[in-house]
Protein backbone atom coordinates (compact mmCIF):
# COMPACT_ATOMS: atom_id res chain seq x y z
CA UNK A 1 0.00 0.00 0.00
CA UNK A 2 2.26 2.77 -1.23
CA UNK A 3 -0.22 5.14 -2.80
CA UNK A 4 -2.65 7.26 -0.80
CA UNK A 5 -5.99 5.79 0.21
CA UNK A 6 -9.28 7.66 0.67
CA UNK A 7 -10.03 5.51 3.68
CA UNK A 8 -11.05 2.12 4.93
CA UNK A 9 -14.57 0.81 4.54
CA UNK A 10 -16.44 -1.97 6.29
CA UNK A 11 -19.55 -3.73 5.06
CA UNK A 12 -22.36 -4.86 7.38
CA UNK A 13 -25.46 -6.97 6.96
CA UNK A 14 -27.81 -5.20 9.35
CA UNK A 15 -28.48 -1.62 10.45
CA UNK A 16 -27.92 -2.60 14.10
CA UNK A 17 -24.40 -3.77 13.30
CA UNK A 18 -23.71 -0.53 11.46
CA UNK A 19 -24.95 1.62 14.34
CA UNK A 20 -22.92 -0.42 16.86
CA UNK A 21 -19.82 -0.15 14.67
CA UNK A 22 -20.33 3.59 14.22
CA UNK A 23 -20.65 4.03 17.95
CA UNK A 24 -17.44 2.06 18.55
CA UNK A 25 -15.60 4.12 15.93
CA UNK A 26 -16.70 7.28 17.68
CA UNK A 27 -15.67 5.91 21.08
CA UNK A 28 -12.31 5.02 19.56
CA UNK A 29 -11.85 8.71 18.72
CA UNK A 30 -12.41 8.72 14.95
CA UNK A 31 -14.11 11.86 13.68
CA UNK A 32 -13.80 11.76 9.87
CA UNK A 33 -16.28 8.92 9.54
CA UNK A 34 -19.37 8.34 7.46
CA UNK A 35 -22.07 5.72 7.23
CA UNK A 36 -24.17 4.55 4.26
CA UNK A 37 -27.52 2.83 4.44
CA UNK A 38 -30.31 2.07 1.94
CA UNK A 39 -32.81 3.83 4.24
CA UNK A 40 -32.59 6.60 6.86
CA UNK A 41 -31.32 5.50 10.27
CA UNK A 42 -32.27 7.99 12.96
CA UNK A 43 -29.76 6.63 15.45
CA UNK A 44 -26.78 7.07 13.15
CA UNK A 45 -26.36 10.83 13.74
CA UNK A 46 -25.92 10.23 17.42
CA UNK A 47 -23.81 7.09 16.89
CA UNK A 48 -21.35 8.92 14.63
CA UNK A 49 -21.42 12.03 16.78
CA UNK A 50 -22.68 14.18 13.89
CA UNK A 51 -23.55 17.67 15.04
CA UNK A 52 -26.81 19.34 14.05
CA UNK A 53 -26.66 21.17 10.76
CA UNK A 54 -26.54 24.96 10.70
CA UNK A 55 -28.97 24.86 7.78
CA UNK A 56 -32.08 25.87 9.84
CA UNK A 57 -30.35 29.09 10.91
CA UNK A 58 -29.35 29.84 7.32
CA UNK A 59 -32.95 29.25 6.21
CA UNK A 60 -34.23 31.60 8.91
CA UNK A 61 -31.76 34.26 7.77
CA UNK A 62 -32.88 33.65 4.18
CA UNK A 63 -36.51 34.13 5.22
CA UNK A 64 -35.74 37.40 7.01
CA UNK A 65 -33.80 38.60 3.95
CA UNK A 66 -36.82 37.76 1.78
CA UNK A 67 -39.16 39.62 4.12
CA UNK A 68 -36.99 42.74 4.08
CA UNK A 69 -36.51 42.49 0.30
CA UNK A 70 -40.28 42.21 -0.15
CA UNK A 71 -40.82 45.33 1.90
CA UNK A 72 -38.00 47.09 0.06
CA UNK A 73 -39.38 46.15 -3.35
CA UNK A 74 -42.96 47.20 -2.64
CA UNK A 75 -41.83 50.37 -0.87
CA UNK A 76 -39.51 51.38 -3.69
CA UNK A 77 -42.11 50.73 -6.39
CA UNK A 78 -45.17 52.21 -4.69
CA UNK A 79 -43.72 55.00 -2.59
CA UNK A 80 -40.50 56.16 -4.21
CA UNK A 81 -40.40 55.24 -7.88
CA UNK A 82 -43.97 55.30 -9.15
CA UNK A 83 -46.62 56.30 -6.61
CA UNK A 84 -50.14 55.77 -7.92
CA UNK A 85 -53.26 56.46 -5.90
CA UNK A 86 -55.33 53.27 -5.82
CA UNK A 87 -58.74 53.40 -4.20
CA UNK A 88 -57.84 56.56 -2.35
CA UNK A 89 -55.27 54.80 -0.19
CA UNK A 90 -51.93 56.24 0.89
CA UNK A 91 -48.87 55.23 -1.16
CA UNK A 92 -47.52 53.30 1.78
CA UNK A 93 -50.28 50.72 2.36
CA UNK A 94 -48.81 47.89 4.37
CA UNK A 95 -51.75 45.43 4.06
CA UNK A 96 -51.26 45.37 0.29
CA UNK A 97 -47.51 44.86 0.73
CA UNK A 98 -47.83 41.86 3.00
CA UNK A 99 -48.57 39.25 0.27
CA UNK A 100 -45.39 40.08 -1.73
CA UNK A 101 -43.40 40.20 1.51
CA UNK A 102 -44.78 36.81 2.49
CA UNK A 103 -44.07 35.31 -0.92
CA UNK A 104 -40.49 36.57 -0.98
CA UNK A 105 -39.96 35.22 2.55
CA UNK A 106 -41.03 31.77 1.35
CA UNK A 107 -39.03 32.04 -1.87
CA UNK A 108 -35.76 33.08 -0.22
CA UNK A 109 -36.13 30.56 2.59
CA UNK A 110 -36.83 27.79 0.05
CA UNK A 111 -33.85 28.78 -2.09
CA UNK A 112 -31.55 28.75 0.92
CA UNK A 113 -33.01 25.41 2.01
CA UNK A 114 -32.42 23.73 -1.35
CA UNK A 115 -29.12 25.29 -2.38
CA UNK A 116 -27.80 25.44 1.17
CA UNK A 117 -28.51 21.73 1.54
CA UNK A 118 -26.70 20.97 -1.72
CA UNK A 119 -23.75 23.17 -0.75
CA UNK A 120 -23.40 21.81 2.78
CA UNK A 121 -23.55 18.26 1.43
CA UNK A 122 -20.81 19.06 -1.07
CA UNK A 123 -23.16 18.38 -3.99
CA UNK A 124 -23.04 18.04 -6.91
CA UNK A 125 -20.10 15.64 -6.61
CA UNK A 126 -19.26 14.15 -10.02
CA UNK A 127 -16.64 11.89 -8.45
CA UNK A 128 -16.50 10.25 -5.06
CA UNK A 129 -13.86 7.68 -4.08
CA UNK A 130 -16.28 5.38 -2.23
CA UNK A 131 -17.58 4.17 -5.59
CA UNK A 132 -14.15 2.62 -6.22
CA UNK A 133 -15.33 -0.25 -4.05
CA UNK A 134 -17.49 -2.35 -6.41
CA UNK A 135 -19.63 -3.79 -3.60
CA UNK A 136 -20.53 -0.26 -2.49
CA UNK A 137 -23.31 -0.31 -5.12
CA UNK A 138 -25.20 -2.51 -2.65
CA UNK A 139 -25.52 0.46 -0.29
CA UNK A 140 -28.64 1.38 -2.23
CA UNK A 141 -30.09 -2.11 -1.81
CA UNK A 142 -29.38 -4.24 1.23
CA UNK A 143 -25.91 -3.60 2.68
CA UNK A 144 -24.67 -1.10 5.24
CA UNK A 145 -21.26 0.58 5.08
CA UNK A 146 -19.02 2.46 7.46
CA UNK A 147 -15.97 4.40 6.33
CA UNK A 148 -13.09 5.96 8.22
CA UNK A 149 -11.30 8.47 6.04
CA UNK A 150 -7.55 8.75 5.83
CA UNK A 151 -7.95 12.47 6.60
CA UNK A 152 -8.85 11.51 10.16
CA UNK A 153 -6.19 12.73 12.62
CA UNK A 154 -6.21 9.36 14.36
CA UNK A 155 -5.92 7.46 11.07
CA UNK A 156 -3.09 4.97 10.80
CA UNK A 157 -3.41 2.41 8.03
CA UNK A 158 -2.39 -0.70 9.96
CA UNK A 159 -4.14 0.22 13.18
CA UNK A 160 -7.34 1.50 11.58
CA UNK A 161 -7.54 -1.55 9.40
CA UNK A 162 -7.11 -3.76 12.46
CA UNK A 163 -9.85 -1.82 14.22
CA UNK A 164 -12.20 -2.19 11.28
CA UNK A 165 -11.58 -5.91 11.15
CA UNK A 166 -12.31 -6.20 14.86
CA UNK A 167 -15.84 -4.93 14.15
CA UNK A 168 -18.58 -7.34 13.23
CA UNK A 169 -18.01 -6.62 9.52
CA UNK A 170 -18.71 -8.88 6.53
CA UNK A 171 -15.69 -7.55 4.75
CA UNK A 172 -13.23 -4.67 5.01
CA UNK A 173 -12.07 -2.76 1.92
CA UNK A 174 -9.33 -0.26 1.16
CA UNK A 175 -10.90 2.68 -0.65
CA UNK A 176 -8.66 4.04 -3.42
CA UNK A 177 -8.55 7.79 -3.69
Amino acid sequence: MEHKLHGIMAEFDTPTQLVDAARRARDEGYVKTDAFSPFPLHEIDEALGIKRSILPYLIFAGGITGLVSGLGLTYFVHVIDWPIIVGGRPAFSLPAFIPPMFELTILFAAFVAVFGMLFLNGLPAPYHPVFNVPRFALATREKFFLIIESADPKYDYAETRRFMESLDAQEVFDVED
Binding site: E43, P56, F60, G88, P95, A96, I98
Partner: protein, 406 residues
Protein backbone atom coordinates in the same frame (compact mmCIF):
# COMPACT_ATOMS: atom_id res chain seq x y z
CA UNK B 1 -50.70 -7.27 21.87
CA UNK B 2 -50.52 -4.99 24.88
CA UNK B 3 -53.25 -5.25 27.49
CA UNK B 4 -55.44 -2.12 27.61
CA UNK B 5 -56.06 -2.64 31.32
CA UNK B 6 -52.44 -1.73 32.03
CA UNK B 7 -53.12 1.76 30.71
CA UNK B 8 -55.91 2.96 33.00
CA UNK B 9 -55.90 6.66 33.81
CA UNK B 10 -54.19 7.56 37.11
CA UNK B 11 -56.56 7.93 40.08
CA UNK B 12 -55.41 11.50 40.73
CA UNK B 13 -57.68 12.59 37.90
CA UNK B 14 -60.55 12.04 40.35
CA UNK B 15 -59.17 14.88 42.45
CA UNK B 16 -58.92 17.22 39.46
CA UNK B 17 -62.44 16.24 38.58
CA UNK B 18 -63.79 17.27 41.97
CA UNK B 19 -61.78 20.48 41.81
CA UNK B 20 -63.14 21.34 38.37
CA UNK B 21 -66.72 20.74 39.50
CA UNK B 22 -66.17 22.86 42.62
CA UNK B 23 -64.73 25.80 40.68
CA UNK B 24 -67.30 25.46 37.90
CA UNK B 25 -70.17 25.19 40.39
CA UNK B 26 -69.17 28.26 42.38
CA UNK B 27 -68.57 30.28 39.22
CA UNK B 28 -71.95 29.18 37.86
CA UNK B 29 -73.67 30.46 40.98
CA UNK B 30 -71.85 33.78 40.71
CA UNK B 31 -72.79 33.87 37.04
CA UNK B 32 -76.45 33.22 37.89
CA UNK B 33 -76.40 36.14 40.31
CA UNK B 34 -74.88 38.32 37.58
CA UNK B 35 -77.49 37.06 35.12
CA UNK B 36 -80.22 38.26 37.44
CA UNK B 37 -78.94 41.83 37.22
CA UNK B 38 -77.65 41.97 33.65
CA UNK B 39 -79.04 39.08 31.64
CA UNK B 40 -77.76 40.17 28.20
CA UNK B 41 -74.20 40.62 29.41
CA UNK B 42 -74.33 37.32 31.30
CA UNK B 43 -75.51 35.52 28.16
CA UNK B 44 -72.72 37.04 26.06
CA UNK B 45 -70.17 36.00 28.69
CA UNK B 46 -71.66 32.50 28.73
CA UNK B 47 -71.39 32.42 24.94
CA UNK B 48 -67.72 33.40 25.30
CA UNK B 49 -67.10 30.48 27.64
CA UNK B 50 -69.24 28.14 25.56
CA UNK B 51 -67.56 28.87 22.23
CA UNK B 52 -64.11 28.50 23.82
CA UNK B 53 -64.63 25.26 25.78
CA UNK B 54 -67.13 23.58 23.47
CA UNK B 55 -64.70 24.55 20.70
CA UNK B 56 -62.09 22.29 22.30
CA UNK B 57 -64.66 19.47 22.27
CA UNK B 58 -65.63 20.10 18.63
CA UNK B 59 -61.94 20.40 17.73
CA UNK B 60 -61.42 16.95 19.27
CA UNK B 61 -63.96 15.51 16.79
CA UNK B 62 -62.14 17.11 13.85
CA UNK B 63 -58.67 16.07 15.00
CA UNK B 64 -59.90 12.54 15.75
CA UNK B 65 -61.14 12.28 12.16
CA UNK B 66 -57.88 13.79 10.93
CA UNK B 67 -55.64 11.32 12.76
CA UNK B 68 -57.64 8.36 11.39
CA UNK B 69 -57.26 9.86 7.92
CA UNK B 70 -53.53 10.57 7.91
CA UNK B 71 -52.24 8.09 10.48
CA UNK B 72 -49.01 8.63 12.39
CA UNK B 73 -47.70 7.99 15.87
CA UNK B 74 -48.96 11.31 17.24
CA UNK B 75 -52.53 10.26 16.49
CA UNK B 76 -52.20 6.93 18.27
CA UNK B 77 -50.91 8.42 21.52
CA UNK B 78 -53.51 11.20 21.71
CA UNK B 79 -56.48 9.22 20.37
CA UNK B 80 -58.03 8.35 23.73
CA UNK B 81 -57.70 11.91 25.00
CA UNK B 82 -59.41 13.14 21.84
CA UNK B 83 -62.14 10.55 22.32
CA UNK B 84 -62.72 11.69 25.89
CA UNK B 85 -62.95 15.22 24.48
CA UNK B 86 -65.54 14.19 21.90
CA UNK B 87 -67.62 12.45 24.58
CA UNK B 88 -68.13 15.81 26.27
CA UNK B 89 -70.84 16.44 23.65
CA UNK B 90 -73.69 15.74 26.15
CA UNK B 91 -72.40 18.36 28.57
CA UNK B 92 -71.84 20.76 25.67
CA UNK B 93 -75.53 20.39 24.79
CA UNK B 94 -76.37 21.02 28.45
CA UNK B 95 -74.18 24.13 28.47
CA UNK B 96 -75.97 25.31 25.32
CA UNK B 97 -79.35 25.46 27.11
CA UNK B 98 -78.83 28.94 28.66
CA UNK B 99 -78.13 30.27 25.15
CA UNK B 100 -81.22 28.55 23.73
CA UNK B 101 -83.40 30.07 26.42
CA UNK B 102 -81.63 33.41 26.03
CA UNK B 103 -82.27 33.65 22.30
CA UNK B 104 -86.01 33.52 22.97
CA UNK B 105 -86.17 35.88 25.89
CA UNK B 106 -83.31 38.33 25.47
CA UNK B 107 -81.67 40.28 22.73
CA UNK B 108 -78.00 39.34 22.94
CA UNK B 109 -78.00 38.57 19.21
CA UNK B 110 -78.95 41.75 17.41
CA UNK B 111 -81.11 40.01 14.77
CA UNK B 112 -83.63 38.80 17.35
CA UNK B 113 -84.90 42.35 17.74
CA UNK B 114 -84.20 43.89 14.34
CA UNK B 115 -87.34 45.13 12.61
CA UNK B 116 -88.59 42.60 10.08
CA UNK B 117 -88.46 45.34 7.46
CA UNK B 118 -84.68 45.47 7.85
CA UNK B 119 -83.04 44.52 4.56
CA UNK B 120 -81.16 41.42 5.79
CA UNK B 121 -84.10 40.21 7.85
CA UNK B 122 -86.34 40.42 4.79
CA UNK B 123 -83.83 38.45 2.73
CA UNK B 124 -83.16 35.79 5.31
CA UNK B 125 -86.74 35.22 6.38
CA UNK B 126 -87.29 32.08 8.38
CA UNK B 127 -83.55 31.37 8.66
CA UNK B 128 -83.22 34.18 11.17
CA UNK B 129 -85.91 33.13 13.61
CA UNK B 130 -85.09 31.95 17.14
CA UNK B 131 -86.90 28.61 16.79
CA UNK B 132 -85.12 27.71 13.57
CA UNK B 133 -81.82 28.79 15.13
CA UNK B 134 -82.42 26.28 17.93
CA UNK B 135 -83.57 23.54 15.52
CA UNK B 136 -80.37 24.04 13.54
CA UNK B 137 -78.27 23.75 16.69
CA UNK B 138 -80.08 20.47 17.37
CA UNK B 139 -79.19 19.24 13.88
CA UNK B 140 -75.50 20.12 14.39
CA UNK B 141 -75.45 18.30 17.72
CA UNK B 142 -77.18 15.30 16.15
CA UNK B 143 -74.68 15.05 13.29
CA UNK B 144 -71.71 15.46 15.63
CA UNK B 145 -73.38 12.96 17.95
CA UNK B 146 -73.42 10.27 15.25
CA UNK B 147 -69.71 10.84 14.58
CA UNK B 148 -68.86 10.74 18.29
CA UNK B 149 -70.96 7.61 18.88
CA UNK B 150 -69.51 5.61 15.99
CA UNK B 151 -65.87 6.57 16.48
CA UNK B 152 -66.02 5.83 20.20
CA UNK B 153 -67.86 2.56 19.65
CA UNK B 154 -65.29 1.30 17.17
CA UNK B 155 -62.45 2.32 19.41
CA UNK B 156 -64.03 0.36 22.28
CA UNK B 157 -64.46 -2.62 19.92
CA UNK B 158 -60.78 -2.43 19.12
CA UNK B 159 -59.87 -2.92 22.78
CA UNK B 160 -61.78 -6.24 22.71
CA UNK B 161 -60.00 -7.63 19.66
CA UNK B 162 -57.50 -10.42 20.21
CA UNK B 163 -55.61 -10.58 16.92
CA UNK B 164 -53.85 -7.95 14.84
CA UNK B 165 -56.11 -8.78 11.87
CA UNK B 166 -59.29 -8.02 13.82
CA UNK B 167 -57.79 -4.84 15.20
CA UNK B 168 -56.69 -3.74 11.73
CA UNK B 169 -60.21 -4.27 10.39
CA UNK B 170 -61.62 -1.91 13.02
CA UNK B 171 -58.97 0.68 12.20
CA UNK B 172 -59.73 0.42 8.48
CA UNK B 173 -63.43 0.91 9.15
CA UNK B 174 -62.72 4.06 11.16
CA UNK B 175 -60.33 5.38 8.51
CA UNK B 176 -62.81 4.86 5.67
CA UNK B 177 -65.50 6.59 7.71
CA UNK B 178 -63.23 9.56 8.46
CA UNK B 179 -62.69 10.72 4.87
CA UNK B 180 -66.21 11.73 3.85
CA UNK B 181 -67.09 12.55 7.47
CA UNK B 182 -64.35 15.18 7.54
CA UNK B 183 -66.21 17.03 4.78
CA UNK B 184 -69.46 16.85 6.76
CA UNK B 185 -67.63 17.98 9.90
CA UNK B 186 -66.27 21.09 8.20
CA UNK B 187 -69.71 21.94 6.81
CA UNK B 188 -71.31 21.60 10.24
CA UNK B 189 -68.56 23.74 11.80
CA UNK B 190 -69.23 26.40 9.15
CA UNK B 191 -72.97 26.50 9.82
CA UNK B 192 -72.55 26.36 13.60
CA UNK B 193 -69.93 29.10 13.77
CA UNK B 194 -72.04 31.32 11.51
CA UNK B 195 -75.10 30.76 13.70
CA UNK B 196 -73.41 31.17 17.05
CA UNK B 197 -70.74 33.79 16.37
CA UNK B 198 -71.06 35.53 13.00
CA UNK B 199 -74.78 36.26 13.44
CA UNK B 200 -73.98 38.40 16.51
CA UNK B 201 -73.71 41.11 13.87
CA UNK B 202 -76.50 40.44 11.39
CA UNK B 203 -75.24 42.95 8.83
CA UNK B 204 -71.74 41.60 8.42
CA UNK B 205 -70.66 38.46 6.56
CA UNK B 206 -67.43 36.59 5.97
CA UNK B 207 -67.06 33.51 3.78
CA UNK B 208 -63.88 32.33 5.50
CA UNK B 209 -65.60 32.34 8.90
CA UNK B 210 -66.18 28.59 9.03
CA UNK B 211 -62.57 27.80 8.17
CA UNK B 212 -61.39 30.21 10.86
CA UNK B 213 -63.32 28.16 13.37
CA UNK B 214 -62.38 24.74 11.96
CA UNK B 215 -58.71 25.75 12.26
CA UNK B 216 -59.12 27.66 15.52
CA UNK B 217 -60.91 24.80 17.24
CA UNK B 218 -58.31 22.31 16.00
CA UNK B 219 -55.64 24.61 17.45
CA UNK B 220 -57.47 24.80 20.78
CA UNK B 221 -57.81 21.03 20.76
CA UNK B 222 -54.10 20.40 20.09
CA UNK B 223 -53.07 22.90 22.78
CA UNK B 224 -55.42 21.30 25.28
CA UNK B 225 -54.20 17.80 24.42
CA UNK B 226 -50.52 18.80 24.69
CA UNK B 227 -51.16 20.35 28.10
CA UNK B 228 -52.93 17.15 29.21
CA UNK B 229 -50.14 14.95 27.87
CA UNK B 230 -47.46 16.99 29.62
CA UNK B 231 -49.25 16.53 32.95
CA UNK B 232 -49.82 12.81 32.34
CA UNK B 233 -46.30 12.15 31.01
CA UNK B 234 -44.79 12.07 34.52
CA UNK B 235 -47.18 9.45 35.81
CA UNK B 236 -47.95 5.82 35.10
CA UNK B 237 -49.09 4.66 32.60
CA UNK B 238 -48.23 7.49 30.18
CA UNK B 239 -44.60 7.81 31.35
CA UNK B 240 -43.95 4.53 29.55
CA UNK B 241 -45.68 5.67 26.37
CA UNK B 242 -44.76 9.27 25.66
CA UNK B 243 -41.44 10.35 24.25
CA UNK B 244 -39.82 13.59 23.17
CA UNK B 245 -40.68 12.94 19.58
CA UNK B 246 -44.43 12.85 20.26
CA UNK B 247 -44.21 16.35 21.71
CA UNK B 248 -42.03 17.38 18.78
CA UNK B 249 -44.69 16.18 16.30
CA UNK B 250 -47.54 17.83 18.18
CA UNK B 251 -45.51 21.02 18.44
CA UNK B 252 -45.15 21.05 14.65
CA UNK B 253 -48.91 20.68 14.28
CA UNK B 254 -49.50 23.58 16.69
CA UNK B 255 -47.02 25.67 14.69
CA UNK B 256 -48.88 24.84 11.48
CA UNK B 257 -52.26 25.78 12.97
CA UNK B 258 -50.91 29.02 14.44
CA UNK B 259 -49.84 29.92 10.90
CA UNK B 260 -53.19 28.81 9.43
CA UNK B 261 -55.03 31.01 11.94
CA UNK B 262 -52.93 34.02 10.95
CA UNK B 263 -53.30 33.22 7.25
CA UNK B 264 -57.12 32.98 7.38
CA UNK B 265 -57.46 36.08 9.52
CA UNK B 266 -55.21 38.09 7.28
CA UNK B 267 -57.04 36.85 4.16
CA UNK B 268 -60.32 38.03 5.65
CA UNK B 269 -58.81 41.39 6.56
CA UNK B 270 -57.02 41.95 3.24
CA UNK B 271 -60.09 41.24 1.11
CA UNK B 272 -62.26 43.59 3.13
CA UNK B 273 -59.53 46.23 3.19
CA UNK B 274 -59.11 45.97 -0.60
CA UNK B 275 -62.83 46.10 -1.28
CA UNK B 276 -63.29 49.07 1.06
CA UNK B 277 -67.09 48.80 1.10
CA UNK B 278 -68.81 50.48 4.07
CA UNK B 279 -71.00 47.43 4.89
CA UNK B 280 -67.90 45.28 5.27
CA UNK B 281 -65.33 47.61 6.79
CA UNK B 282 -67.50 48.63 9.77
CA UNK B 283 -66.93 45.35 11.55
CA UNK B 284 -63.17 45.73 11.31
CA UNK B 285 -63.12 49.48 12.00
CA UNK B 286 -64.91 48.91 15.30
CA UNK B 287 -62.21 46.41 16.19
CA UNK B 288 -59.39 48.82 15.35
CA UNK B 289 -60.65 51.61 17.58
CA UNK B 290 -59.71 52.27 21.19
CA UNK B 291 -59.30 49.28 23.49
CA UNK B 292 -60.28 46.85 20.74
CA UNK B 293 -57.36 48.11 18.64
CA UNK B 294 -54.88 47.17 21.35
CA UNK B 295 -56.40 43.71 21.60
CA UNK B 296 -56.15 43.37 17.81
CA UNK B 297 -52.43 44.22 17.83
CA UNK B 298 -51.99 41.95 20.85
CA UNK B 299 -53.55 39.08 18.89
CA UNK B 300 -51.16 39.58 15.97
CA UNK B 301 -48.22 39.52 18.39
CA UNK B 302 -49.31 36.78 20.78
CA UNK B 303 -51.65 34.62 18.73
CA UNK B 304 -49.17 34.59 15.85
CA UNK B 305 -45.72 36.22 16.06
CA UNK B 306 -44.62 35.04 19.50
CA UNK B 307 -45.79 31.38 19.28
CA UNK B 308 -44.54 31.24 15.68
CA UNK B 309 -40.99 32.29 16.55
CA UNK B 310 -40.86 30.13 19.67
CA UNK B 311 -42.19 27.05 17.88
CA UNK B 312 -39.61 27.35 15.08
CA UNK B 313 -37.04 26.04 17.54
CA UNK B 314 -36.66 22.28 17.63
CA UNK B 315 -35.47 22.02 21.23
CA UNK B 316 -38.49 23.92 22.46
CA UNK B 317 -40.93 21.51 20.82
CA UNK B 318 -39.14 18.47 22.28
CA UNK B 319 -39.36 19.66 25.87
CA UNK B 320 -42.74 18.53 27.22
CA UNK B 321 -42.99 21.16 29.99
CA UNK B 322 -42.03 24.08 27.74
CA UNK B 323 -44.39 23.14 24.94
CA UNK B 324 -47.17 22.60 27.50
CA UNK B 325 -46.65 26.09 28.92
CA UNK B 326 -46.81 27.58 25.44
CA UNK B 327 -49.95 25.50 24.73
CA UNK B 328 -51.67 26.93 27.82
CA UNK B 329 -50.57 30.41 26.78
CA UNK B 330 -52.09 29.90 23.31
CA UNK B 331 -55.33 28.63 24.92
CA UNK B 332 -55.52 31.83 26.97
CA UNK B 333 -55.00 33.87 23.80
CA UNK B 334 -57.67 31.81 22.03
CA UNK B 335 -60.08 33.00 24.72
CA UNK B 336 -58.99 36.61 24.10
CA UNK B 337 -59.58 36.02 20.37
CA UNK B 338 -63.14 34.85 21.06
CA UNK B 339 -63.66 37.88 23.31
CA UNK B 340 -62.42 40.08 20.44
CA UNK B 341 -65.05 38.55 18.13
CA UNK B 342 -67.95 38.76 20.60
CA UNK B 343 -67.21 41.95 22.55
CA UNK B 344 -67.49 44.66 19.87
CA UNK B 345 -70.69 43.09 18.50
CA UNK B 346 -72.26 43.73 21.88
CA UNK B 347 -75.42 45.68 21.08
CA UNK B 348 -76.43 46.46 24.63
CA UNK B 349 -76.43 50.21 25.06
CA UNK B 350 -77.49 50.56 28.65
CA UNK B 351 -74.74 52.56 30.28
CA UNK B 352 -74.47 55.44 27.85
CA UNK B 353 -71.52 53.94 25.98
CA UNK B 354 -71.30 54.35 22.24
CA UNK B 355 -72.19 51.22 20.30
CA UNK B 356 -69.07 49.08 19.83
CA UNK B 357 -67.05 51.03 22.40
CA UNK B 358 -64.56 49.01 24.39
CA UNK B 359 -66.12 47.34 27.38
CA UNK B 360 -65.31 44.35 29.48
CA UNK B 361 -67.59 43.05 32.19
CA UNK B 362 -66.62 41.06 35.28
CA UNK B 363 -68.99 38.44 33.90
CA UNK B 364 -66.58 37.92 30.99
CA UNK B 365 -64.21 36.35 33.52
CA UNK B 366 -66.88 34.38 35.37
CA UNK B 367 -68.58 32.91 32.29
CA UNK B 368 -65.54 31.04 30.88
CA UNK B 369 -64.60 29.75 34.36
CA UNK B 370 -68.14 28.48 34.96
CA UNK B 371 -68.41 26.75 31.58
CA UNK B 372 -64.79 25.52 31.82
CA UNK B 373 -65.21 23.98 35.26
CA UNK B 374 -68.28 22.04 34.21
CA UNK B 375 -66.74 21.00 30.89
CA UNK B 376 -63.50 19.82 32.52
CA UNK B 377 -65.43 17.92 35.20
CA UNK B 378 -67.20 15.98 32.47
CA UNK B 379 -64.00 15.58 30.45
CA UNK B 380 -62.05 14.06 33.37
CA UNK B 381 -64.94 11.72 34.05
CA UNK B 382 -64.81 10.50 30.45
CA UNK B 383 -61.02 10.22 30.59
CA UNK B 384 -61.29 7.84 33.56
CA UNK B 385 -63.74 5.55 31.77
CA UNK B 386 -61.34 4.04 29.27
CA UNK B 387 -57.64 3.16 29.04
CA UNK B 388 -55.51 6.17 28.08
CA UNK B 389 -54.11 4.56 24.94
CA UNK B 390 -55.52 2.26 22.23
CA UNK B 391 -53.26 -0.59 23.39
CA UNK B 392 -54.65 -3.07 20.84
CA UNK B 393 -54.13 -0.76 17.88
CA UNK B 394 -51.84 -2.45 15.33
CA UNK B 395 -49.60 0.64 15.35
CA UNK B 396 -49.47 1.08 19.12
CA UNK B 397 -46.04 -0.51 19.72
CA UNK B 398 -44.65 1.35 16.72
CA UNK B 399 -46.03 4.62 18.08
CA UNK B 400 -44.23 4.10 21.42
CA UNK B 401 -41.05 3.24 19.55
CA UNK B 402 -41.41 6.38 17.43
CA UNK B 403 -41.55 8.57 20.53
CA UNK B 404 -38.31 7.16 21.88
CA UNK B 405 -36.55 7.67 18.53
CA UNK B 406 -33.99 10.34 18.01
Amino acid sequence: MANPENYRAPAEINRWRTLALGVGGIASIIWAVGAYFNTEQALLSWLLGFIFWAGIGFGCIGVLLLQYLVGGAWGVVIRRILEAGTRTLPVIILLFIPLAIGIYTRSFFDWTHLPLTDHVMEQRGIYMTPWFWIVRAGIYFAIWGVMVYLLNKWSADQDLTTTTEQSRLVLEKASRFSGPTMVVYCLVVTFASVDWMLSLDAHWTSTIWGLLFAAGWALSCFCFVVAMLAVLSDKAPMDGVLGKRHFHDLGKLILALVMVWAYFNFSQFLIIWSGNIPEETGWILTRMKGGWGYIGVGLILFHFAFPFLVLLQQDFKRHSKWIAMLAIFILAIRLVDMFYLIGPSNRIVTDGLEQGAFRISWLDFVGPVAVGGIWLWWFFGELLKRPLVPARDPYFEGAIEHGRGH
